[in-house]
Symmetry: C2
Subunit: 249 residues, 2 copies
């Protein structure tokens, strides 16, 4: 949510408009999508792709895509398109995926186990470096080839394995205290799966993945669709419509 560095426009008079280095947050969120599409194309042996091609496979408007890519530099060739392998590397470099990021997972329940067993991490620049739980009965269990350690060892693990990203899969009630411990241990990025708002000091990034929220957003639209479908036009007062839809399941 809160950008870490001041990527803002340079207030100094030096009108070096050549966008110093502030890649918009919205663009950053799309770079991984482009990266995936490019990897796919590379696997298929495609050498070059136009912005229209990429737009088709990523579902992103081609103009937006070009503008996004232009923040990284001028890596395309007019009249031709983008060199798939070259662009793929440039994006990977920008995101920092030329190195492997060690990740610690906290809370080896249903979800934590699934994530620990997930092979897709490794192929995308991340490595499960440590698993941690506060349930001593779980300590020693293995998931994806990594053993579970106790929460008390967190500081040590983070330090010696140089972890800077933590994945939080504990119950909601434990989220804030665990987040505090992660921060104290030196973790500066947290991916939070627990349905809880956690607050962290400035300089620490938190991203939230919340299944229920996603479903509820779908439900909101679904409700509108049901209502719209159960009658012809849509010029009625929606309160009535909602009431009707809720009433008859």
């Amino acid at each position: 949510m809160k950008p870490v560095s001041n990527h803002g426009p340079d207030p100094s008079g030096s009108s070096e408009d050549r966008a110093g280095r502030g890649i918009p947050e919205a663009t950053v969120a799309r770079l991984p999508i482009y990266l995936r599409a490019l990897t796919l194309l590379a696997e298929r042996g495609v050498a070059t792709a136009s912005s229209e091609d990429l737009a088709a496979t990523t579902g992103v408007n081609s103009a937006k895509l070009r503008k996004d890519l232009s923040y990284l530099g001028s890596y395309g060739t007019r009249g031709v398109g983008y060199d798939v392998e070259y662009l793929r590397y440039q994006i990977a470099r920008e995101i920092g995926l030329t190195q492997d990021w060690p990740v610690v997972i906290i809370g080896l329940g249903n979800l934590g186990q699934a994530l620990a067993n997930y092979a897709g991490f490794g192929t995308r620049g991340f490595r499960v470096a440590a698993l941690v739980d506060n349930d001593r009965a779980r300590v020693g269990e293995m998931y994806g080839g990594v053993g579970v350690r106790h929460l008390d060892e967190l500081d040590e693990l983070v330090r010696e394995r140089d972890v800077s990203i933590g994945v939080l899969t504990t119950p909601a009630a434990a989220a804030q205290p665990v987040a505090d411990r992660l921060v104290r241990a030196g973790v500066t990025s947290i991916l939070n799966f627990a349905p809880a708002v956690i607050s962290v000091p400035a300089g620490v990034d938190v991203r939230k993945v919340d299944l229920s929220i996603e479903l509820q957003i779908l439900a909101y639209h679904e409700l509108r669709k049901q209502v719209a479908g159960s009658m012809g036009a849509a010029t009625l007062d929606l309160d009535d419509m909602v009431a009707r839809a809720v009433g008859s399941p």
Copy 2:
């Protein structure tokens, strides 16, 4: 991504500014957060809460929060705040959580099993109505009290259990064909966990949950942090900085 109905501003001259019924998408995405906070407060026996209180527990700016709530109607009392239980119900009604939404999960691998076993669904307005896989070896297994059925039975299950929301947890390669089957079966909302872009006809909503993308966004910021930390000021060319950070892990 693509809104279903035309919530856009009415181009007709009727300046009925009283925002007919278009709740902004950004607001819809926050309503579940408010709902959760209100449920929490209600459990603690809190009767009323001001926008500042809610802002504190949800992490949302209080002005934004008030504006969001104002789209639903005037449910607050000036000088007092919002009645927790009343507001909670109003939001639940708006999202459609006064009814239970039956959900089908496709692909009972690591992730699908974790979701099927997850108890948090039921308490948030959703019910796992069916589990489907195309691996006959999995058919008959039970997760969270629901048995796995074969993909061939999808149409029947969706119809007879009145499912309109599908959760897609198959490998990426199967995502598009499975999505097509879901749509054909009558599902009109899909929550996609597979790292693949799926295209669906208009009228069908898709939301994507992509773990790797979230991690990659964190990695992007992490890289910038590492670079900024490994040197004093930040007036160097970033290409060099990135190269240095990448070079020394």
